[in-house]
């Protein structure tokens, strides 16, 4: 299996704090990789590095064999890396469909001048963007909410919308940052089935940060464990479950390994 995403000795410092240190991992095409670790382990920082929100202090990142460290987030998104955020970051004032269209639009080539003068080509782009977004929303049972303000949606619908928005980018790699945050165990298991379906339907590779251990164990093909910005363990879910270092890292914090 080829590595879709690979990091080599990735490091990120914030002043005196080393959020990620010398991290080398790879994500294989088509797999679901779980990333776990106590709070502050650097998991979201890792996502931010992968999506280009800030550059690494040192080290390299490769996506589909090409280096992406230091590229703008919009460029990385266009190359096929999409994400959701730990605290939902929807465009709250905009409508549901506008949220999706914004992501979809990055696939369209429509020049600013065309937009300003509303050329026929710009009109076609608009139409395509609407139709594709409606189709996507319908798939996720959000179609009827298309014109609602995104900020007015229920929590669950917002989480779903964030995923739909990410999928509108037609990504190869989907990074999910705690998608089950704030959900009770049964909701989390529903999300697990949902994500499995999304994984298959859209032929994705998924990297998943989560604290709901049952969910991570059930979904992931492999798991990487971070603590203090460093990889402390990795492997199949069963291997990781019994790893003493991992248990130690979690001792005293929420999230018992089942």
């Amino acid at each position: 299996m080829s590595a879709l995403l690979e990091t080599r000795q990735l490091t990120r410092q914030f002043g005196g704090l080393r959020a990620i240190g010398d991290l080398s991992l790879s994500v294989h095409r088509g797999e679901i990789l779980g990333v776990i670790g106590p709070n502050g382990a650097g998991k979201t920082t890792l996502f931010n590095l992968l999506t280009g929100i800030y550059p690494p202090s040192s080290g390299e990142i490769f996506f589909e064999g090409r280096p992406i460290a230091g590229l703008r987030p919009s460029e990385i998104a266009r190359r096929g890396v999409a994400r959701t955020f730990q605290n939902i970051r929807l465009f709250r004032q905009l409508t549901v469909i506008e949220n999706v269209r914004i992501a979809y639009d990055s696939r369209l080539s429509c020049s600013p001048l065309g937009a300003l003068l509303r050329t026929p080509h710009a009109g076609f782009c608009e139409r395509e963007s609407v139709e594709a977004s409606v189709e996507l929303l319908d798939l996720f049972e959000l179609g009827s909410l298309a014109e609602k303000r995104a900020g007015d949606l229920s929590y669950g619908a917002q989480r779903r919308l964030e995923i739909v928005r990410a999928l509108a980018l037609n990504p190869k790699l989907l990074l999910l940052d705690e998608p089950a945050a704030g959900m009770n165990p049964s909701e989390a298991m529903q999300l697990t089935d949902f994500l499995r379906w999304v994984h298959g339907k859209f032929s994705l590779t998924i990297v998943l940060i989560e604290h709901h251990m049952q969910m991570v164990m059930a979904l992931s093909d492999r798991i990487e464990v971070l603590d203090f910005g460093v990889r402390i363990a990795g492997g199949k879910p069963d291997e990781v479950k019994g790893n003493s270092r991992v248990i130690e890292a979690y001792l005293g914090t929420e999230g018992e390994l089942p």
Partner: protein, 291 residues
């Protein structure tokens, strides 16, 4: 050489006044992260308060200074209480716009009351001294001395008193501070008062140095001090003083070499130039935050 020394004293004088005003901008930015656009007009009112006071009751210099500082301190507190405090939780844009609006209201009200520039009556006998061929006036000594004194007092206040510590704490993490039982609102109000008092003092001193004052001074002079604060790194006290003396020197040099109409052009261009290369000012530090 003598000419340079003479200009240096002029720069020192202008820089001192700018520094007093700039400190007000930086203090407020430090505790509230907002640009108090109205501060320049508080400075302007300092000069006008002095004018008003001296017209009613002839008082000696030091008394005028105290009264004016008290008056502007009160004004600063009022503005904070009624225009800024309600907007603490609002987006920053609202606060800046309100500040701009307040400043313009103050300026144009003053303009309405006093449409023409006014001369400032003498508060001090202006003796001149000769020091190795350089002329220095009593006025310049007073201005530089008083400014320096006030700056040192402020420095002491910030670094050695518990109030100063509270102020610095608020600048670091406002939410946390109230959880620790520190009365954030009161500290902020006092910070405004002190900043405004310094601005008022600057207004009085400015009026004495360049004895024609007008309502548009808030923008023409007050905003220069703002430029100085930004050049030094807004929010940073040392930066405010540094920026003030840099700007003062640049302006004095500009006026010596070019026609005076170039002054604003050079000052604001300097600001832009510095912001391009050092977006947070000379001594400013960008806020490091994890997304």
């Amino acid at each position: 050489m003598k000419y340079l020394a003479q200009q240096a004293i002029n720069a020192l004088q202008l820089g001192s006044i700018y520094a007093l005003i700039a400190l007000g901008y930086s203090m407020v930015y430090g505790v509230l992260t907002m640009i108090n656009f109205a501060h320049g007009d508080v400075f302007m009112l300092g000069a006008f308060f002095c004018l008003l006071l001296v017209a009613l009751v002839p008082v000696p210099f030091w008394l005028a200074l105290i009264v004016v500082m008290a008056a502007t301190a009160l004004l600063g507190t009022l503005i904070e209480r009624f225009a800024y405090r309600p907007l603490r939780k609002a987006p920053r844009v609202s606060a800046i716009i309100t500040a701009l609006g307040c400043g313009l209201v103050i300026q144009n009200t003053t303009l309405g009351i006093s449409p023409y520039a006014r001369p400032m009556p003498r508060l001090l006998e202006n003796a001149t001294y000769q020091l190795g061929g350089i002329t220095i006036t009593m006025l310049q000594i007073v201005i530089i001395g008083v400014s320096l004194g006030l700056m040192l007092a402020l420095d002491f206040l910030i670094r050695k008193t518990s109030f100063g510590m509270a102020m610095r704490a608020i600048a670091s993490d406002r939410a946390m501070v109230s959880l620790l039982g520190i009365p954030a609102n009161e500290i902020i109000a006092i910070t405004f008062a002190i900043g405004a008092a310094l601005g008022g003092a600057a207004g009085l001193l400015y009026g004495m140095a360049y004895p024609v004052i007008s309502a548009s001074m808030g923008i023409t002079v007050g905003w220069k001090a703002f430029v100085a604060a930004v050049i030094g790194g807004i929010g940073n006290m040392r930066g405010a003083v540094l920026g003030a003396f840099i700007l003062g020197s640049v302006e004095v040099m500009t006026v010596a070499v070019l026609p005076s109409t170039y002054r604003d052009l050079i000052s604001y261009s300097l600001l832009l130039l510095i912001l391009v290369f050092k977006p947070h000012g000379l001594l400013g530090k960008p806020a490091l935050h994890k997304a």
